[in-house]
Amino acid sequence: MKVLVAVKRVVDANVNIRVKADATGVELSNVKMAMNPFDEIGVEEAVRLKESGTASEVVAVSAGSSACQETLRTALAMGADRAILVNTDMELQPLAVAKILKAIVDRENPKVILLGKQAIDDDSNATGQMLAALLGWSQGTHISKLLVTDNEVEITREIDGGLETLKLTPPSVLTTDLRLNEPRYASLPNIMKAKKKPIDEVIPEELGVDVTPRLTVLKVEEPPKRSAGVKVSSVKELVEKLRDEAGVI
């Protein structure tokens, strides 16, 4: 069984995001980049499937500029077998990524594709769902547990008020949530071995995919600063303030 796993290069989770002065986006120059944390969880899960003998091959895919090679190297160092870079300098929106991934799925025929539930840069939470629709596959989103057998995929998702367990008929698109696993650190020997693993490059045109953005970004701005709170002396005062000043009850 082949597993595909999608990885995105994003601003490192520890970086304080700063909006560009001209409000066209966030500052990316001189900013540390890393693999999207949810994708790390995806890679970890795929590698565990391989280690447990369930998966026979793990292929990592990334779409974006040549710099994404670094992200793919990390996936390879964590244990993926090979990688594919869909190389483009165009801005990629979720639909474009879903189309690219569909084209790759058509070539590779995996049984399962793992994606992060969202990327921490634009937080769209859309690519996995769009991909499932384009492929006509079953989808399991926000999964916190995964069990794959020959003809069944069992997943657990965290929902309001509890856990939901679903059985899917593969092939399936799966998106990872935080508690699915704790990704490993790539060891230096594995990083060194990863350099011998192949990264294939294609461009969107070769895949017959039009990645032109469909959405226009009007403006990016910082969220309003939180103003200081007030101390109340009694529950009564709290209720009054919530009703009269905040207007929430």
Binding site: E70, T74, A77, Y185, P189, I191
Partner: protein
């Protein structure tokens, strides 16, 4: 989450743009590492430093090492962090792949070393000493010794130590008394006391391999009669049936020092009582064996200085942007707040920029030196090897003393940015001041580095070592002297270069009449040479940055930052060379005139 974020962008800038490491594909070890692999390696090491090691640093300082009945317990979290470090394969970064190492060039080991030192200097001493032991055994061990010790050390299953210091001898190792008597089976029996032994006893590894300097009876007096021995904590001996018996060797930790900082690193008194040891290398060549590792070890300590300084800068610059006191002198920066962040104040900026200018300049110079260590060992061309080895010989004492002095200065400036909140323990910056202090002492005090520079390195081969630094500086000035854009950099560089040449001539000339003339100004001369070498790095970095900005680089902000910090260095730090020149040329009299009894 800890405050530390590895300066990955700056590492890559230095490696790719300043040093151009990709041009050394023909040198063993370099061909394997392209930019994307280097980025992955640095990125993964950064994760380990930020997420695993930095978080245990402050608690390690508070708890310290616990000693009871000869057993040392490291602070909580240390065992887990050490295991993550060892299992990640980070101990054998540049060790021989035949024994499980990764064979990476030294320059990358230096990058990783800086991150680990920033994350926790105390923690880093444990893997750091293992690397030292690996290098010693790789270079001087017999094939059997390599087979026995290297795989275990590289895997982090066994620890390593360096046992030089004794109660009556630190700097002057010729006084070593520990005795090693040969036994019938060719092994030795060691008896004596060593003090201040880092990682001499701990609970991180199942065995500890002590490397011990000792004297074989009948050897010549002084440093020529000292040999190096391997003394394992546990000995394994096979019997004829092939089963292994493990026995405890007679080397014990008799106490652990209480000290100013570096508290999570155990500093041990080690007693050898007829302990079994094995000669490493040739007898009476122990000091020479130690010297072959000295350059790399001293570069390692220099980098510890930078590591602590980087950590201090990150803490202080974050604090200075948040802490609000007073108003900017030319009108409020934040009119709708009651006060401005202290980063508006010239004096706070002076402190932060001093730290930053040290860090970035020192990083470039240290990595350049690390690269030269690789070239001196592995470059196919003999001339290049010799020139690189001259440069390393010259610069090792300079960067060891200069960067550890700067590291301490910088930690102290960082504390000052915090005011009283820096002096109390919670913010964590006072720990950096205490931890940084040792780097100026171990692996040879700053004063001893200065004597090495003036007494040995300057006169060697009629000044040949010095030329390995002066030639590139001279040609840079020739090539770029006319460039109006670079004038703020090349002009100060040229002036300070003239001064250091003057100082050199003064020392060479007067030192010949009376060696105290050289020794009295040695520390000042070392600092001066360090500042000029840093100025050269800053000028090179400025040149690259200007051209990147002209080319319309996307990273404009990064390069503009370099130019701003570089200008500060030239205007506010480099001028110290002129007062250093006056001090040096005042000679021995002001320091030697007063009789010792008068102190």
């Amino acid at each position: 989450m800890s405050h530390y974020q590895a300066p990955v962008r700056d590492f890559l800038f230095v490696l790719d743009e300043v040093l151009g490491v990709s041009a050394y594909g023909n040198v063993e070890g370099f061909g394997d590492v392209g930019t994307d692999l280097a980025t992955t390696i640095i990125g993964e090491a950064a994760k380990l430093a930020e997420d695993v090691i930095a978080p245990i640093n402050q608690m390690g300082d508070q708890q310290g090492c616990h000693f009871e009945n000869g057993v040392v317990t490291t602070p909580s979290g240390y065992r887990e962090a050490f295991r993550a470090y060892a299992e990640g394969g980070w101990i054998g970064v540049s060790a021989d792949p035949d024994h499980g190492g990764q064979g990476l060039p030294h320059v990358y080991a230096s990058v990783i070393g800086e991150m680990m030192a920033s994350a926790s200097l105390a923690f880093e001493t444990y893997p750091g000493l293992i690397s030292g032991a690996i290098e010693a055994i790789e270079r001087h061990g017999t094939p059997e010794q390599k087979e026995t010790y290297l795989p275990q050390l590289i895997a982090g299953k066994w620890g390593g130590t360096m046992n030089l210091t004794e109660p009556h001898c630190g700097t002057d190792l010729g006084l070593i008394k520990t005795r090693a008597e040969v036994k019938d089976d060719g092994s030795y029996s060691l008896t004596g006391t060593k003090i201040f032994i880092t990682a001499g006893e701990h609970d991180l590894t199942e065995n500890i391999i002590h490397l011990v300097l000792a004297r074989i009876p009948g050897s010549p007096e002084g440093v020529r009669g000292i040999s190096l021995f391997i003394v394992p904590k546990f000995l394994a001996s096979g019997d004829s049936e092939g089963s292994m018996e493990v026995t405890r060797n007679n080397v014990v930790c008799s106490s652990v020092e209480r000290k100013m900082g570096l508290k999570a690193s155990s500093t041990c008194v080690m007693s050898f009582d007829s302990a079994t040891g094995y000669l490493l290398g040739e007898s009476n060549k122990g000091m020479r064996a130690m010297f072959t590792m000295m350059n790399a070890a001293r570069l390692g300590v220099a980098i510890q200085g930078i590591g602590v300084s980087e950590s201090a800068y990150q803490m202080a610059s974050t604090y200075a942007r948040e802490r609000c006191q007073g108003r900017a002198l030319n009108g409020p920066a934040k009119p709708n707040q009651v006060a401005d962040p202290i980063i508006v104040h010239p004096d706070v900026r002076r402190m932060l920029l001093t730290m930053r200018a040290y860090n970035e300049g020192a990083r470039a110079l240290a990595l350049w030196t690390g690269l030269q260590i690789d070239l001196s060992r592995k470059h196919p061309d003999q001339g290049t090897r010799r020139n690189a080895s001259d440069f390393v010989a010259l610069m090792t004492p300079v960067i060891k003393a200069c960067f550890t002095d700067m590291g301490f200065e910088s930690a102290n400036l960082g504390l000052q940015c915090f005011g009283g909140h820096g002096y109390v323990s919670d913010t964590g910056i006072e720990q950096l001041v205490r931890d940084a202090r040792i780097t100026q002492i171990y692996e040879g005090t700053s004063g001893i580095q200065a004597l090495d520079l003036v007494g040995r390195k300057l006169p060697a081969h009629a000044g040949r070592y010095l030329r390995s630094l002066f030639h590139p500086i001279d040609s840079f000035i020739q090539e770029n002297g006319e460039d109006p854009e670079l004038k703020d950099f090349v002009l100060p560089l040229a002036k300070s270069f003239a001064r250091v040449q003057q100082a050199t001539s003064w020392i060479v000339e007067h030192g010949m009449q009376n060696p105290e003339h050289g020794a009295a100004g040695a520390s000042d001369y070392l600092r001066m040479l360090g500042l000029v070498a840093l100025a050269y790095m800053w000028a090179r970095m400025a040149k690259i940055s200007l051209s990147q900005i002209q080319k319309g680089s996307e990273d404009r902000q990064f390069y503009e930052g370099k130019l701003d910090v570089g200008r500060f260095f030239m205007a506010r730090i480099l001028p110290d060379t002129s007062s250093l020149l006056s001090k040096i040329s005042s000679g021995a009299d002001p320091v030697m005139r007063m009789p010792s009894e008068a102190f």
